[in-house]
Symmetry: C2
């Protein structure tokens, strides 16, 4: 049941029998802008939300991994390829959906990739060919643009509530 | 019960009756290195873990807030004071406890503070007087040293498993 635990200041889900408190907190999404000879790797989503739209490989960070290890794992799962991570592009926080995206920059180890179970298609795009209007999430655009600009990691906080199909 | 959901690749807690999947993911800790006239604000912990040790104000990020808003909230709760956030010091990830610390740099709005319910004591320390051996967490040391160095945000991944009292 929902109640404010002693010493706390907001409602949590608490078990009335055993006192167990279920804390719900924001989730971290890890991913990478991956390049091969200046072309950028994008995956066309095979799962909701935004089926059919293109995204950089990214997904929820798992327990006991670093954001770097998580990015490597997501690239392996979604694009069946291996990367070398070079550093942070930025942190993109989206308070209205309680997500913090930690996005790295990386190079493909070799130009060999294939759609994983969550992707319909995986492809390399020259900058001029990126399908901006068919990107899955605003955070894709933010990370790609920052990657292109270069420079150290940025922190960007989404201001607008955007509803996506 | 613990099982691997269809289309997933790791065990999750799944309700055998309704199919609800409980995903456990890393938590984000938000905090700030706060200064007033070159002195740094530290709080002596009144709660476990590390009761009696000093820490920068920090705590779990809550739903629907940004890391900046979270840092402001933690400073208000633990040190009863207000800050102006200037930017990121760094991201400190600690895979073995599944935490990602996002630490900001900030200035006190005025030199007025007091211990909140989770603090025994709050004080300003000149750099030379920081109680390094009585800091609560390694991430405090990492953030304070990076703050002192200056420069853009760093990503630091903890390599060692440290057991704290």
């Amino acid at each position: 049941m929902e109640t404010i635990p002693e010493g706390d200041n907001r409602a949590r889900l608490v078990c009335p029998d055993c006192g167990y408190i279920e804390y719900a907190n924001p989730k971290v999404v890890v991913g990478a802008v991956c390049v091969w000879e200046e072309k950028i790797l994008l995956c066309r989503r095979a799962i909701a939300p935004r089926i059919g739209y293109w995204t950089i490989p990214a997904g929820y960070m798992e327990l006991n991994e670093s954001t770097t290890d998580g990015a490597v794992r997501e690239v392996r799962e979604e694009a069946c390829t291996r990367i070398l991570v070079d550093g942070l592009v930025g942190i993109y926080e989206i308070p209205h959906i309680s997500q913090v995206h930690v996005i790295h920059r990386a190079r493909l180890s070799e130009p060999v990739f294939a759609p994983g179970i969550e992707s319909q298609e995986v492809a390399l795009f020259a900058w001029a060919d990126i399908p901006w209007d068919a990107l899955a999430f605003p955070s894709n655009t933010w990370a790609l643009e920052r990657f292109r600009e270069g420079g150290g990691p940025v922190l960007y906080t989404a201001k607008d509530v955007v509803t996506l199909d």
